[in-house]
Amino acid sequence: MDAVTIENLTYTYPQAPAPALRDIDLTIGAGELVSVVGANGSGKSSLCQAIRGFIPHFYGGELAGRVVVDGTDVAAQEIGDLAGTVGFVFQNPFTQMSGVARTVFGEIAFGLENLGVAPLEIHERVERVLEDAGLQELRDRDPMQLSGGQQQRVALASVLVMDQPVLVLDEPTSQLDPASTDGVFDLVLAARARGRTVVLVEHKMEHVAEFSDRVVVMDGGSIALNGTPAEVFSDPRCEALGTRLPESMYLRRALEPSGLRLSPTPLRLEDLLQEISSGTGGSHPTTAPEVH
């Protein structure tokens, strides 16, 4: 079953000279983790906003085409009511704190209170998310006094607790250190493991390559490439579109003159190093077959 269906989507922001999104056709299956990558201004965030319904409900502008999420036509639904269908996490941890909760517990419960969930169920769900997100230690802390990484985990937990079938994450780790980034990805992967559909805008290509089911490369408001990480990152057009490749791809390229037999698309650095140490390019579970 498809979680997200986008048909012929073209969108122009108010007073913008040109569309931010052009003729987008995209289908995302339930439980898939799809990463959206591309150069700055390529339309990644606009695509996310369209899936969440902020486009056109919040921003206005001209929209043609259709976005259907979990069977709901986004344009026909009230923006507030979509909160139960699509979760959204932004890149700036600080602005994602509601500003009204005195504790991390209250911050995570805020969304459920807004949706009118019964108090006992709120307690149950918040406790579960605190445990899953490793936030029990912070439960009584003021969310405004946390570090950026901690705030981003709280922001993600505040969305995860709402149990929406679709999660949209717009560069959730762009302001985080490596350890905090791993913490956020652990949560994202746990959500996918529970069957949630994840749409992720991310610049850390190692993570994109390792964890995505599919990668969408955007350019000038359109989808330029769409395929598995192996297919996309081995496509010569990917780099030409201003998208950085995973480090393993660059290293492999540098090693090519040495004559080592390496897999065509070693997506993880660890895999590549293992191949180098063994001196052969044998198949590996995380390396993809050559794409023709």
Binding site: G87, G99, P119, E127, M162
Partner: protein, 263 residues
């Protein structure tokens, strides 16, 4: 880390141990506003009695120190200044005493006393309110009475954002200092350093507001359905009785005032 016991219905009753602080904030506000009004009906003698009552209430609430500190630095200081200015500058025919080239007149003293009493009566009650009323409890209590959650949000988020804006301002000032701009010299130099911080502060705040608004949407803040709350502010029999007595006191005070006017 603490994992508090969850109440049977999942809703925590926010009732501090101190009986004054436990009162519903709407009750406290009602009583203090009524006290303000009543003190304005009468002279300084009633204001004096009420101030004594405020001090005793602050003492009972365990907040006398904070109350005295705020009260002396604001209301008392302002009242003294107003009284002195009126006594020295208000024109009048009955000169009580000469101070340098100024005359202290009976009319000035009378006017100063009236204005200072008014400032004292209103200011003392407001300061006590600020010491006794927790703004979060107040907004929750108002929400329980049907006030829009948006209004509560605006009040609470503003209070939260003020320290954040201060911190942001300090960061910008540090950046200015790092570039060699003088920020700690005379008031004029400080003013010149302060002005350029305003545009990044304001622009960042505007960007932040948009993201925060979207965050609220993402958390269902504008959802049309009924909301729930994990905290309840109790409205006890004591609260209801106090409010009833307050309304009665206003009516009686008004009647007494009218009767006095008619004498």
């Amino acid at each position: 880390m603490t994992t508090p016991d969850i109440p049977a219905d999942g809703v925590r009753v926010d009732a501090p141990a101190n009986p004054i602080l436990r009162l519903n904030p709407i009750t406290v506000l009602t009583v203090l506003l009524a006290a303000c009004a009543i003190s304005l009906f009468f002279g300084w003698q009633v204001t004096l009695c009420l101030i004594a009552a405020y001090l005793l209430t602050a003492l009972a609430a365990g907040r006398l120190g904070r109350y005295l500190s705020l009260w002396l630095r604001s209301v008392v200081l302002l009242s003294v200044v107003i009284f002195a200015l009126q006594a020295l500058l208000y024109p009048g025919e009955t000169v009580l005493r000469e101070v340098l080239f100024l005359d202290i007149t009976a009319e000035g003293v009378d006017k100063g006393l009236r204005i200072a009493t008014m400032v004292m009566s209103i200011g003392s009650a407001l300061i006590l309110g600020s010491v006794l009323i927790d703004i979060r409890r107040m907004t929750r209590a108002l929400e329980q009475r049907g006030t829009s959650p948006t209004a509560s949000y605006i009040v609470l988020s503003t209070l939260t954002m003020i320290p954040q804006l201060k911190a942001h301002m300090a960061t910008i000032m540090d950046a200015q200092r790092a570039r060699g701009i003088e920020t700690d010299a005379s008031p004029l130099v400080r003013a010149k350093a302060f002005l350029p911080t305003l545009s990044p502060l304001i622009l960042n705040s505007i960007v932040g507001v948009e993201e925060r608004a979207l965050t609220l949407e993402a958390r269902g803040f504008s959802s049309k359905g009924a909301t729930t709350s994990l905290v309840r502010i109790p409205d006890t029999g004591i609260d209801r009785t106090l409010r009833a007595l307050t309304y009665a006191a206003i009516v009686i005070a008004l009647a007494v005032r009218i009767w006095l006017w008619m004498q």
